[in-house]
């Protein structure tokens, strides 16, 4: 089966005077997995409805393998393109099997009954979507997630070359989210199916897509391979959230982690210096929040390439750092000492300790001895985080015993700081 390509050419659509899509041009290759992403109201669903010929654009056209979708006979179009809509609620008590069998309608003449092959295709569609066991249940009685999969099964029963899906995983649990998207990926590869899906979950889009279209206010903000489109800058501009992008070794793609709502730091600088002892990402969140709240933040000692190191660099705060995977050198130690000296408050975050960074704990302990205010975030003991054979635990216990304030959560830091300043 050869797949079909889609060309969206200068498409403009508006509901009344409200412009939804404006002069939108984008191409999807046959047999590719395309994700349409964008914030609420950016026109994703409207674009999908224009592609499926459910809406008629004011300007421009949608070409399916070079042919205007509005000029293709509905029955023929239904044999080439199937659609899984967002809202799948049904009020009439058809059985699940009857519902899926309706997917064969485009292949039947008016008085023709479903053949054995039609029944077999419907059964196949139900088996790959794991809905065969529901076949005799009423479509009104099954759960929203099950219904979603049944509707996908009906779309697959149409044996389409293009499948359009609007938020297909919205009602699904993580297991079925993965199964459904993996199924689509498999069909893309085995049958050269062109998959076009609206997704809200950027991580799923990053994991499965060959091509991503980022919509913003009815226009294509960016389109291309996932790593070209899903950049920190693009996401921040369109979604107004700050994110961190880290490679995902398990999928070979990357993960996008929202960090905070992207608002400019509140101008007022506080006259309070805080030094963070962190690592491995334990300090990224609090670093950001403290800077935003106007505190003067420093941190150390961090290894170059560490998540906290990246975040600190992004925020432009002062760091005592060391080369990657190296134990703390004398130079970094001295730098950290200076930063500790200047700080009003020292915060020790929940990070593991090994031979390489044990000196951090020693420095915190001596700072405490010199009368610095020390906040410790985490458990009362270092269980599971000590890789020094007990040395770190001894130091940690001493710090907690000798007057450090123990906090259960990172956020508690603010409560303490508020009472102090």
């Amino acid at each position: 089966m050869k797949g079909l390509s889609l060309n969206i050419d200068k498409l403009s659509f508006s509901y009344g005077s409200q412009k939804i899509l404006e002069d939108l041009t984008v191409q999807f290759q046959a047999g590719s997995f395309v994700s349409i992403i964008g914030p609420n109201g950016s026109g994703k669903t409207t674009l999908l409805k224009n592609i499926s010929a459910a809406l008629v654009p004011q300007k421009g056209k949608v070409l399916l393998q070079g042919q205007d979708v509005l000029r293709i006979k509905p029955k023929k179009l239904a044999r080439q393109m199937a659609v899984v809509p967002q809202d799948t609620a049904v009020n009439f008590a058809f059985t699940v099997f009857e519902t899926v069998l309706m997917g064969r309608m485009p292949y039947l003449k008016r008085f023709e009954s479903e053949s054995d092959r039609d029944v077999a295709v419907a059964r196949w569609a139900m088996e790959v979507t794991h809905t065969w066991h529901l076949k005799d249940r009423s479509i009104t009685e099954i759960s929203g997630g099950e219904r979603q999969r049944v509707i996908v099964a009906r779309a697959l029963a149409q044996e389409p070359q293009v499948i359009l899906l609007d938020e297909p995983v919205a009602h699904l649990d993580p297991q079925h989210q993965m199964e459904l998207l993996e199924l689509l990926q498999t069909l893309k590869e085995s049958k050269n199916l062109t998959v076009v899906t609206v997704l809200h979950d950027l991580n799923l889009a990053a994991q499965f897509s060959d091509y991503v279209v980022l919509l913003h206010k009815g226009k294509v903000f960016a389109a291309g391979r996932p790593e070209e489109v899903l950049t920190v800058k693009n996401i921040e501009q369109v979604y107004r959230v700050e994110v961190v992008i880290i490679p995902n070794e398990l999928t070979g793609r990357f993960n996008i982690i929202p960090v905070a709502k992207s608002t400019p730091p509140q101008g007022k600088l506080r006259n309070c210096r805080i030094h963070l002892v962190c690592g491995g990402g334990s300090g990224a969140f609090i670093m950001d929040r403290l800077v935003r709240s106007g505190y003067q933040v420093s941190c150390g000692v961090l290894n170059i390439g560490d998540n906290d190191w990246r975040k600190a660099r992004e925020l432009g705060i002062e760091i005592a750092y060391e080369a990657p995977f190296s134990p703390i050198s004398e130079k970094a130690y001295q730098k950290n000492e200076r930063l500790l000296d200047r700080a009003d408050v020292v915060v020790l975050l929940s990070l593991p300790f090994g031979a390489g960074n044990l000196s951090n704990l020693e420095q915190v302990y001596s700072a405490l001895k010199q009368g610095k205010k020390v906040l410790v975030v985490g458990d009362r003991n270092l269980a599971g985080r000590d890789f020094t054979g007990g040395k770190a635990t001894d130091l940690y216990d001493a710090i907690v015993k000798d007057g450090a304030v123990l906090l259960a959560e990172v956020k508690d830091i603010f409560n303490v700081l508020e009472t102090m300043y």
């Binding site: 499926s52 010929a53 459910a54 006979k73 239904a78 009020n91 099997f97 069998l101 309706m102 005799d136």
Partner: protein, 349 residues
Amino acid sequence: MEYRERKTRWKLIFFGSLSGTILVMLLCLTIGAVDISVGETFGIVVSKILKLGSYFNFPQYPASHEVIIWQVRLPRIILASAVGAALAAVGGVFQGLFKNPMADPYVLGISAGASLGAASAIAFQLQSVIGFFAVPAAAFAGALASTFTVYCLGKVRTGVSVYTLLLAGVALSAFFSAITSFIIVLHSRETHQIVFWMMGGFSGTTWLHVKTAVPVICGGILLLYCFARELNAMLFGDNTARHLGIDLNRVKKAILILAAMTTAAAVAVSGTIGFVGLIIPHMVRLMVGPDHRILLPAAAVFGAAFMVLTDTVARTILAPAEIPVGVLTAFFGGPFFIYLLRKKKSEFI
């Protein structure tokens, strides 16, 4: 596999209920104000149909009995069954098309339009101008005119919106009813006749009524049945239907025209008989499920049986006086429907 078994089950349901209905019709033929025995009744029918009188030696039946069976009861029963079938089938179609359990054949203003037509014809004495068929013809014209108006009002940029249609139907019905009431007030001498027509009934049915209305009704039901599969898909919403390859605007238009013709033909010869078009489809849906491929034929057959039975009660229970059959359909249908609703506790449609 089970799917094939279902088709067999459907055939059983349909032909079983069809035979039952024919039996009911024959039975009702023997019941009436004048006491004619079962044997005599069937003798008259068989001799009339087969015209065998000249070959076989049928006993001579009294001429009055022949007239009662052949000219009075039989056309009336046939017309009642056709009207019942039409209302029930169109009710089923409209409940699917509008995805609304409250829909009945009259939602598009057909009853109000027909009533207005009939009332005008009666009030302005059109019989004396165009003859005996003036009232049915005016009712038919009124029914089609109101449906057409509602359809034009319901058209939106992208096609036909069923919700706009429903609302336009309600509004136009109210408007036409107001005019009808006004006519009744102005022509108090004809009030009884107009109100009696509006309550609906089959008294005075002739073969001419049967010959004009029944072909339209039968053709309408058969053609509507052709859209059973499309109606199934349309229950899942307009967009789903479109994505399954249905040329939605053309199908909707065809269904509306066919349903309007069928209902108008029924209403023209029987007045506005309520409730049959609402409850019979629901009853049948409870029994056979929502698939229009069995729902429509079964509803038509059950509607026919129900109408013949109620009409028989209407013409015999207070004989020689008659009760308008519309009164009885609601009187019997309402409580029975409520019983079904209570019995089936789960959500309805």
